[in-house]
Symmetry: D2
Subunit: 376 residues, 4 copies
């Protein structure tokens, strides 16, 4: 009940930022599923750092070594396990934070929880690096889901105060089903393969907004500061009737998974917080028949009613706080001496993790949806 999730398809993560290796065991995948490893690696590249202005200088080859679970590239029913080596390690960078916790990091809480036995180096098990095996699991689940006609897409809705155009899936104007209205740099144009946009490095619907976002990140980086943002995600192809009443409902299941991504501090479905300002007559999604299918004219519910999918796109937004690691000196305390301390963070860090978090959001959703749909 700690670093694992799932009932039928179970995901167990392991590893620390600077341990010998890190990885994931995926137990319960349907047998006979072909896994395209090139596609998996392409997906993992989206969260890899070191290549652009908005990401950490730490570069890792991130080559997955499959230990078990695949036979001739197909799932064989046994748990699929994978390991990534940690190679690019600067342990010295973390000496000064051993007892002086970085503000808004997990250093202090991990110290208390584990009585000082926690691995502080690189954030240990709390490091964003653990999203690497999460994304591996997500990439695998995505391939299985895709064969069932389920597509998960996401775009950067905002970085700081710069906004992308919202996805049409909420307003109900999205005319792109099946598939999705979230099209990186396409302004909604459907001319290209929709399933590809999650493979964009900086996916926005409005290309020009994306450029302004990158500029904002560079500005923050120049002043030793950091930015947060919001990612909007849309899932299409889920048939109506998936989910459970009360606790195991789809919103609870997705929320449980999404809040496991470091830095997520908010989540909303459909119209979300804006719902609270709407009247019922304005909010309610009217039903209509569309060629034999029940559809709704708007999608303020984000595709979920009573915790169960209604056949419309599942739409949600996750808010990310700014990267806690900044170069600007900060106030902290020495946990041993009890003195107040000024802390200067060394090490390598992202001025904004939002772009690299897009595949994480997609993955956190994919593992839940596959778990829910398996055995239905």
């Amino acid at each position: 009940m700690t670093s694992s999730i799932g009932n039928r398809v179970k995901i167990q993560l392991f590893g620390q930022s600077h341990s010998k290796g890190l990885g994931v065991v995926i137990d319960g995948l349907p047998a006979g599923e072909k896994i395209d490893m090139d596609k998996v690696e392409a997906f993992l590249k989206l969260r890899a750092g070191g290549k652009n202005p908005w990401s950490t200088k730490r570069t890792e080859p991130d080559v997955p070594t499959i230990l078990s679970g695949l036979l001739d590239d197909k799932t064989c029913g046994a748990p699929l396990s994978v390991v990534f080596e940690n190679t690019n390690i600067h342990e010295a960078d973390y000496e000064n934070i051993r007892f002086v916790p970085r503000p808004s990091h997990a250093d202090y809480t991990a110290f208390v929880k584990y009585n000082g036995n926690n691995d502080i180096s690189g954030g240990g098990h709390f490091s964003g690096r653990l999203t690497l095996p999460l994304c591996f699991a997500g990439a695998v689940c995505l391939q299985v889901l895709e064969r069932k006609g389920i597509i998960i897409n996401a775009h950067i809705l905002s970085i700081g105060t710069v906004n992308d155009d919202p996805c049409d899936c909420v307003s109900g104007d999205c005319d792109t089903l099946p598939g999705c209205g979230i099209q990186a740099g396409s302004g909604g144009d459907l001319g290209h393969d929709v399933s590809q946009n999650i493979y964009d490095e900086f996916p926005t619907i409005n290309k020009e907004a994306g450029e302004r976002m990158i500029k904002a990140i560079e500005d923050a980086a120049d002043s030793g500061d950091s930015l947060g943002g919001v990612i909007e995600c849309c899932i299409t192809g889920i048939p109506p009737g998936l989910g459970e009443p009360i606790f195991d409902n789809m919103e609870s299941r997705l929320a449980y998974s999404l809040f496991a991504i470091p830095a997520v501090k908010g989540l909303e479905f459909g119209a979300g917080f804006k719902s609270s300002e709407m009247r019922g007559s304005e909010y309610n999604d009217s039903f209509y028949m569309d060629d034999g299918d029940v559809r709704t004219k708007t999608n303020n519910s984000g595709g979920i009613l009573g915790g169960i999918s209604n056949g419309m796109p599942i739409v949600f937004r996750t808010a990310f706080k700014p990267t806690p690691s900044i170069s600007i000196p900060q106030q902290s305390v020495d946990l041993l001496s009890g003195d107040d301390e000024t802390l200067e963070i060394k090490g390598r860090h992202d001025p904004c993790i939002v772009p690299r978090a897009v595949p994480c959001v997609v993955s956190a959703a994919a593992i839940v949806i596959l778990d829910m749909i398996t055995g239905e």
Copy 2:
């Protein structure tokens, strides 16, 4: 994995809006805990309808019948089970919606999931009435938590576009620890017993804002419409170190429980969505020593770092959509004939469920916190 939650203290809900009875089994409570049933019933009154302008006309005595688990008012280690009778039932009100689902209700999705075998009357198992046993469980857990010094408070932050003052716990200016800065109608004054404010019927920090909220609800009701709102909740007294890394973190656990409350469409911790617009230097909560305790100057993290409590108040906000039941005619479909239909909803409903949802939010949090702290 459906209507149950919890690992150590397990909650299993049962019942439908119009079934013979509904209730809850609470398994795993520590033995020897005195349960004050008067206090439980006082808490349940907060979610009872029929008494004021903003709630349904359905009135139920809501008297809990304890079947097992208590001996001389103390928990005896056996599962605590309780039943409430349903008495005030107007089944006829639901005849016209048997095959014509109400927009933004669970009627359609339940119909699909259960192949038409679901109990439509009063919303069946998806009814808000199921929050009655949830609140019973919450009331019990609150008493156990209180003995450990943990207090859960909440206030109505907004109804529609009318806002209450925010809780000081986020800004860090809250000088009320231990206890809580959320004081119904007190403007932050600490002159009275803080643990009582969750027993207010319409808890706001700013009394005058509360009056404007009630006025807004009455206006919506007059036009056959409904309103949503936001509830802010604050938990004090949780020691640092509670929670788990990655999936079983405190935010994921609370989110899983809170999204089980009908009509919740958004959730944020600490600065939440606003975090996404802040710079790291502005967002990060600096540490300082306070008489031997590690504290933070601000509380943008909402008391949770890396999924683990840091000793500061846990603060979160849940967004509620407007009540889907409105008197205004709406567009729907006939699931049998496949025709579009105009639906007029009869039955009794709340123009705004937010006031009655306050104890639900408190309860959903209480059951998770007690589960997490049991066996630590």
Copy 3:
């Protein structure tokens, strides 16, 4: 994780021997299943006491009150909940054991676990009376399984040292598939409906052996003593391929459920303990083709290979210790004074619980099999 079981179909028991009521919540049953309540009550009669020489003098009407989950006698997707009232209570019988634990009962361990807060009356939550809601759950699951062609049968293999004929399902000579070779009082004759024998009050294959068993129980009762025995159970109609590797295998799942029946101290599958004395060449179940189906010539494996069903009957045996409550005076201790004590047990008890345990064994198996097969 205490008095509940199941992943997809979850069973939560509650109640004490002398609490106001006891019952069960069954969450996750497929919707639309007709439940024949007469058949349920007939099944419950098998574990009812008071009617024959081998059972307790305590008589209870055991009338189930369905609170929720059924609509027009069909499951509606919501948790099925049922309550039984406790009426025939002699609390005074238990005054002398409050601090003097009965040997081989749970009195002492419950006292320690719950710091003396446990309900001692009638054994509290540890009472055999809790098998009433277990059997209710079993009766419901049996009806759903039967519609899938799965039949669970059981007979009394031994009482003390008196043995029934073993079921032919192990030797492989059972020519009764589909259906089962366990035929109460039929000597293996297949002339009557096999699904009825679990509704016999004292089911043995060899009628005359059954009579000798009853005589042995009466002899033990006359001397204030008690007897144990072995129940053999056989499940037919399970398709090959059900179960999971390693931990969630069918033997582990069944064992987990069966050891929850009070007084079970041993369990074996197929040839069981006798396997340990056999050579591989003697034990191994050879495969052969039977009209297109893969079958085995013997069934020493009890229908399970690698934890997964192989299409042959599932066969297992559970050993019951003698009823711990006997009239003969016994040595115990006073938990308060620390003195040794001689204890004379009052109250009403069964000289042998094995006959009434037959529906319990069937039920414990039924809830596991339905859970495993749901969502496959």
Copy 4:
């Protein structure tokens, strides 16, 4: 819910007999526990093959590579993960069984469950080789338990029809508490460190019986046949009060884990199946005071009453079927052609796996007990 177990200390196994690697993730270990890797490797040697007449010719170095979870040899709170490479692989040995399942192996059931996608080589995920990571987990848990005063011991009670002396812990004559009466080759003598006997290669209480057992195994091997046996296990140092009522009781928890060991077909606690032949007056364990401690004169209950530990040694026996792999030709079927086939098993196998299963039984028990005691 497949190859994982545990609520607080979770064990996730992965790997196949001939995959690149196999291993285990242990999540939830208390932080700060020193793990002596030499002791772990000494324990793993007990299940290693290739060194003696009774084990397979397959030899593997079985060197554990720790990927994460340890910092300076101490647990750091993060999941402990370990990988073993598979090196000594003869895939060709398994060509002839791809579609001709070996009797009493999992070949057929895995084929059905995974639609023929399962890894047949060496038994795949169903191989006894998966007990290597199980024993690793067990070895780690044993060290943590030992620090709490909990010792798990086991001896070979029988091989085929050759019997060792039973452990005195059942008769109650065991005068060795704390510690344990199971003393390899010691006849009960307490002159040496009791915690060492699980490190014996062929642990019996009666040395001469052990020699006859080895002779019996050699005889079976000479005729291309195999033998089973029974392992008796004894756990001392568990305080009274550990366990839960009904489903999560200690017998159910241990049973769930023990039946996960390949070839286990029976399990009994205390007097076990023999209980069924005893009278209550003979079976019941009388209480007495022993220097302030509550003890029982006999231990027919095997240390468990009502599913909860009573402070006496936990005693249980597991029955192992003979190794299914034998050289003698056997009858099987061709799953593709549907023809009956005579199968000759190549590959390397143990004439009797019981000696190598001793650490497996100890491990299966250790992981359950540590899980149960963590967070109490």
